[in-house]
């Protein structure tokens, strides 16, 4: 019996941390992880942030990023233990036998050089292929990956192709030296859902055609289920579960895996709209200063008290701009906004204090939405003091009540944002918005920076609060699973226009318009063979047309 291509045994990875008030000490990031990878197979590494999945992926190249060290175990690639290999041999291996695809292609390509030069570099340097041969290979790969104009795309510069295309170019870069193993580190996470599916199909086809083995790292179980043969679930550097994709998805054994598989299973009954809307946006058109392109054109939506309107679209569709117009940060060029049956002035400065109070906002990045120099108590307490004039013990009590509402204890009162976890930060931001006793909260991608399970908790909290406080949400997101979980009505935006709008049941039921259909069918589903089904379906439709 031949050895597998990659054999990892009891891998231990550690790093040194430098806490502000203590001596530097060593911590373990990965504990005794073992796995095998055969030629031509794909292993998915999945876990939340901090699970050690990227660290393990990079260890297949015997590389530790930012002070991370491999402290024990064995990493066998092609019959060699990489941990006992000299640095010069490792250099030959990296980029030759093992290659790497990173999350952000835009940040990884050299903007000053043509794509072709960068794609063939590793092949020419590491595998001593001559340039003409390497270029021919690259063009073949461009074709396999479904890039437009494969003969000439290599002569473009990185900024001249789209994000999804660049990610595919990077896959070509990794495959060009004909490696034995490719490490994909979250290759589709930064992409829109409609772009992600194309890249996924391209990657899958390329893996199949070249027969290369791959480690596929992601936090999205639905994505990894489409491309991998085996899946390893990681949490805090430990292996939670390791098995075939079929077993992990259809028959998970561990509680943590079960939670991951069933995430976003919140059931939400659609509410019936009242006769008087809380917010009415009529014929809104807006553009940024100094440009003559309408970012929003003729947008009409309504939101009823105590309900949720989800605004969905890919990046650049104008959904965040709509939030800025409603808050008054970007005055519209035409159209009217009616809030609580009175007209809202266009500019934020001209609005009454009660308008400002009743319309609150929660941001995507909780990190930057809170002043790092203010304690949780100050952050939540300021709106109480500012709008209602609470002081002293009364204010303290109100802050504690709010902390209780977001399921956090009084011990958080004097903490600074840096001392909170990602989910806790977002909860504090919710409490700050609630402190103003608003009628409407604009949620701008509030869960997209969070891990799935944490995001789930935040969504449940928001729904719970809506029931108790009767607050309406304008929920901006690109994630359709979130929309299904919380929305009462939905507006689908594309290039600054609302292309589909109505109650959830209507928007998510056929017949669809082309864009909504594309959007809906692009959301990865947690089942095997989904990607093939979509591909086949789209091929049939294309043939039918």
């Amino acid at each position: 019996m031949t050895d597998p291509l990659v054999k990892v045994r009891d891998l231990k990875i550690g790093a040194t941390v430098y806490p502000p008030n203590a001596k530097p000490h060593d911590i373990a990031i990965v504990h005794d992880v073992s796995f095998d990878l055969e030629r031509g197979k794909v292993l998915g590494l999945i876990g939340e942030s901090g699970a050690g999945k990227s660290t393990i992926g990079l260890s297949a190249m015997a590389y530790g990023r930012g002070g991370v060290r491999i402290t024990g175990g064995e990493v066998w690639v092609n019959g060699r233990n990489l941990l006992e290999t000299t640095n010069s041999d490792l250099r030959k291996l990296r980029g030759g036998e093992v290659t790497y695809v990173s999350q952000s292609a835009a940040a990884s390509f050299n903007p000053a050089r043509q794509i072709m030069e960068q794609v063939i570099e590793a092949a020419v340097h590491q595998k001593k292929v001559n340039r003409a041969e390497a270029q021919k290979r690259a063009v073949d790969l461009f074709r396999t990956l479904g890039l437009p104009d494969p003969e000439n795309i290599g002569s473009r510069f990185p900024h001249q192709v789209s994000g999804g295309q660049l990610q595919r170019c990077m896959t070509a870069l990794a495959l060009c030296p004909q490696p034995d193993l490719v490490v994909f580190d979250e290759p589709t996470t930064a992409l829109d859902v409609t772009t992600q599916i194309d890249v996924l199909m391209a990657i899958k086809a390329a893996i199949r055609d070249t027969g290369v083995a791959a480690l596929y790292i992601t936090h999205d179980l639905a994505v990894v289920a489409q491309v991998s043969d085996d899946i390893m679930v990681l949490r805090l550097g430990n292996t939670v579960e390791y098995g075939t994709t079929d077993q992990i998805i259809n028959n998970p054994q561990e509680d943590y895996t079960k939670a991951l598989v069933s995430v976003r299973s919140i059931d939400h009954e659609e509410k019936v709209p009242s006769d008087k809307p809380l917010l009415r946006v009529e014929n809104i058109t807006a553009r940024y200063k100094g440009t003559n392109v309408d970012v929003l054109s003729d947008v009409n939506v309504e939101l009823h008290p105590g309900q949720t309107l989800a605004v969905v679209g890919e990046s650049g569709s104008g959904k965040s701009t709509l939030a800025r117009v409603i808050t008054g940060l970007l005055p519209q060029t035409a159209g009217d906004i009616t809030f609580d049956s009175r007209a809202l002035p266009r500019a934020q400065k001209a609005r009454r204090r009660d308008d400002l109070r009743e319309l609150q906002m929660i941001y995507q990045m909780a990190d930057t939405a809170m002043n790092p120099r203010q304690t949780v108590g100050t952050i939540i307490g300021r709106p109480l003091e500012f709008y209602f004039g609470y002081k002293g013990a009364e204010k303290r009590q109100k802050i504690l009540d709010l902390l209780d509402k977001i399921e956090m204890g009084p011990e958080f009162l004097d903490r600074y944002p840096a001392e909170l976890s990602g989910g806790q930060k977002q909860r504090v931001c919710i409490a700050r918005a609630l402190a103003a006793r608003p009628k409407l909260i604009i949620c701008d991608e509030v869960t997209s920076a969070l891990d799935p399970l944490v995001a789930d908790g935040i969504l449940k909290l928001l729904l719970d609060l809506q029931k108790r406080e009767d607050v309406a949400y304008l929920f901006i997101t690109h994630d359709l699973a979130t929309v299904r979980a919380i929305a009462d009505s939905i507006a689908v935006m594309y290039q600054g226009k609302v292309v589909r709008y109505g109650p959830k049941s209507g928007v998510l039921a056929p017949p669809f318009d082309d864009y909504t259909d594309l959007l809906l069918s692009s959301v990865p589903e947690m089942r095997l063979g989904w990607l093939e089904d979509v591909a086949a379906h789209r091929k049939m439709e294309a043939a039918g047309n």
């Binding site: 808050t327 940060l329 934020q348 906002m361 002043n371 790092p372 120099r373 203010q374």
Partner: protein, 272 residues
């Protein structure tokens, strides 16, 4: 806290503290009166006069101590004035943006385009040269440099979501500037303060040397150099003592400033 201070910063801190201590308690420490003539012209160092006497027979150590008091006082006041004006205007420009920013920034550019020493000489030649006037002129001229830094730092902070959140809440400019921006801009500004303080010491010494700074019989380090510069020709070292004190003060304050800068810009702590 104390044991974490690196050796160089500790040395700097000790010397800086020593200079400020001497400046504060000058009348108690100095052996003679400030303008008291106690001996012959340019006597060498002796038990009575540790550094000798100056060009008209005053005790040089006494002059140095009182001179340090004047120099450090003016430099400190000038630095405080320049930081208050510079950073308030800088934050204001960053927060207001638009034409207000243009107005303030272009005016500052205009002032900065004229070498500050020449501008100071022109202004002081038409104004009565008193200590308050010196402080105001030097402080305002130096505020242009502080403005540049404060504005650059604040522009980065003003686009953060938490500032937008405060604006959306309806907060006024004072809260935004003093509660949202200032705490986050403080560390780079404090580090810059150390450097600017030394520039102030050099500035006031230069002015005094040229005769448009502190007026006799008051003592200050630049003035002592001016009074005793002719002695150098005869091998009298009296004019060199102020140079020694200015140099050591500059180095020690900079050692402290470097340490603060290192602490606050390290990757581990971010702006924290």
């Amino acid at each position: 806290m104390i044991k974490n201070i690196p050796f160089a910063a500790m040395v700097g801190l000790c010397f800086t503290a020593l200079y400020f201590f001497v400046a504060l308690f000058a009348p108690l420490i100095a052996p003679y009166g400030m303008a008291e003539i106690v001996g012959e012209v340019w006597e060498p160092a002796s038990a009575d006069h540790w550094l000798g006497t100056d060009n008209i027979g005053r005790d040089l150590l006494t002059r140095m101590i009182y001179g340090g008091r004047t120099t450090i006082f003016i430099a400190t006041m000038g630095t405080i004035l320049s930081f208050v004006t510079g950073s308030v205007l800088g934050f204001l420009a960053a927060v207001l943006g638009g034409w207000a920013d243009q107005l303030i920034s272009r005016f500052v550019d205009l002032v900065m385009s004229i070498p500050s020493l020449i501008l100071a000489l022109v202004i002081l030649s038409v104004m009565p040269v008193t200590v308050p006037v010196l402080i105001v002129v030097m402080g305002l001229l130096d505020a242009t440099r502080v403005f540049r830094l404060a504005r650059a730092v604040a522009v980065d902070i003003a686009v953060m979501d938490y500032v937008e959140a405060a604006t959306l809440r309806g907060e006024g400019g004072a809260w935004v500037i003093f509660r949202e921006i200032l705490p986050n801009a403080l560390s780079p500004l404090v580090a810059e303060m150390g450097l600017r303080f030394i520039f102030m010491v050099l500035f006031i010494s230069t002015l005094s040397f040229l005769g448009l700074g502190v007026q006799p019989p008051m003592a200050d380090w630049g003035g002592i150099v001016k009074e005793n510069k002719d002695g150098i020709v005869y091998g009298i070292g009296a004019a060199l003592w102020p140079a020694v004190t200015i140099a050591t003060l500059a180095i020690s304050v900079n050692l402290v400033a470097d340490w603060i800068l290192n602490r606050t810009t390290s990757l581990k702590g971010g702006r924290g």
